[in-house]
Amino acid sequence: MGKTIAEKILAKKAGRKDVQPGEIVTCRVDLAMSHENARLVMRHFDKIGVDKVWDPDRIVIIFDHRVPAESEITAIGQKEIREFVKSQGIKHFYDINVGICHQVLAEKGFSRPGILLVGTDSHTTTAGAFGAFATGVGATDMAAVWATGELWLRVPETIKIVVNGELPTGVYAKDVILHIIGKLGADGADYKAVEFYGETITRMSVASRMVMSNLSMEMGAKAAIIPPDDKTLEYVQSRTSCDYEPIYADDDAQYVETYEFDVANLSPQVACPHSVDNVKPIEEVEGIKVDQAVIGSCTNGRLEDLIEAAKILSTRHVHKDVRLIVIPASWEVYRQALKQGVIETFINAGAVIINPGCGPCLGAHQGVLAPGEVAIASTNRNFQGRMGSPDSFVYLASPATVAASAVEGKITDPRRLLR
């Protein structure tokens, strides 16, 4: 019987000929990523009773959630982590001036085909865009990985999602994945791996594919894998000299479900409060007044995202009643955007640029919402209270839709402003 990519990677990492969906296996981890929650991991690690981590070269720590520190308690946590990194000889450490962990993993060549990558962040699925089995775990899990290099995993069933059709102007990967989540539901892929196929995916840039794998987490996916192609390999080879082995599904692989989508006539999509699967086409939500607009996050803060938003803002100004906050996903993106004049476009339009990181996405700092306020954001979650007050409202959309809405002061179809 044929195997899916997830089954093949987990079998390899478990040292087995093959594995069956549903069984629990113990796998060797290739790469273990944490951000500021490394502090909680350290506390658990201390209790295990080993002095040294299993392999300091396979641990990556990237500060992104509160950069620079917004409070004394965060500053203390970051200080403790810096000391731990030094004492353990962890050389893959990125401080407050590098970027969002999932973007940095890609840029620094850690996201590679065929590897098992775990991270103490749910959106670790992003690295699936490079053909990795990449999944989010908790702090206790990570402490166990730091100590042993191993992790228990249930082998997931795999869902096959095929996307065909040429994306219309003003419609992006974000719209495609929001549409899919709207159809499958917030738990539509819970405990399952997803594999993406189809001409739309093949045509997508590496950055757009990362959007697909990133947001698949919002339908519960354990991993969201895009089979590596020339585009993937070209990107990865330009970033790392490490060995890796692309892994592909067998032709007769067994999928628990298969879904096909044709996106040739898709409208821009918006996820309405307070659930990522509460997705509506732009036509149904246009006109809702917004107080804040946010372009950034691990979902949509890459160069192509900033460029699309800048196209709309280059001849326009942000509405007087709206605060537009822009957060490049990394310093590399920031530098490229500066070089291309994109940052200047944002500033001239009245946007506030903040340091690459998670920013207000998780409601910790740098743009939290007051009661009654409405935000439209290119981020990944619109849960009640996510971006500040439990009485605020977050709508999720593409960077172009966010930029158009920032200009008009209300949710706006970007296609009208892109003409």
Binding site: I24, R39, G77, G138, A139, A144, A186, D187, R381, F383
Partner: protein, 166 residues
């Protein structure tokens, strides 16, 4: 293992921002962490819970972030178990890993009211609603996971399995 406790009933898609808001993630003190469980929708939750109480919820409990604090806050409050129609996968792992029994029981919300007393038999998969007499069957936890729960979580389990780490 048999667990008995009073029910706190929740709906579907109860996400990690509802269980433990992001702004409190920097907190490390267990008592303080416990006091922020469900803080945004139910600020007095921590005052109302008694040790052993059981969370009952609909589908996709704990969806969202990987934040272990969303499990730890309930553990530190003394919550004895979570029984839901489904549990988001990272939340499920986190619960098991900190030694908090997480049980999946389809249709549980149709058979349980807020405040009912439940009796859970983890090995056999029997659930008795002592307030109504209703009996339900859930798929027992796999032996591997049950062993982690019996040890009190993944870290004590690792210490037990590997004497050199004691």
């Amino acid at each position: 293992m048999v667990l008995t406790g009073r029910v706190w009933k929740f709906g579907t898609n109860i996400n990690t921002d509802i269980i433990y808001p992001g702004k409190f993630l920097k907190i490390t003190d267990p008592t303080q962490m416990a006091s922020y469980a469900f803080a945004s929708i139910y600020p007095d939750f921590h005052k109302s819970v008694t040790p052993g109480d059981i969370i009952v919820a609909g589908r996709n409990f704990g969806c969202g972030s990987s934040r272990e604090q969303a499990v730890l806050c309930l553990k530190h409050l003394g919550i004895g178990a979570i029984v839901a129609e489904s549990i988001a996968r990272i939340y499920y792992r986190n619960a098991i890993n900190v030694g908090l029994p997480a049980i999946i029981c389809p249709n549980i919300t149709a058979h349980v009211n807020n405040g009912d007393i439940l009796e859970l038999h983890l090995e056999s998969g029997q659930l008795l609603n002592k307030s109504t007499g209703v009996k339900l069957q859930f798929t027992p936890l796999p032996p591997f996971i049950l062993n982690i729960i019996r040890s009190g979580g993944l870290i004590p389990y690792l210490r037990t399995c590997n004497p050199s780490r004691r």
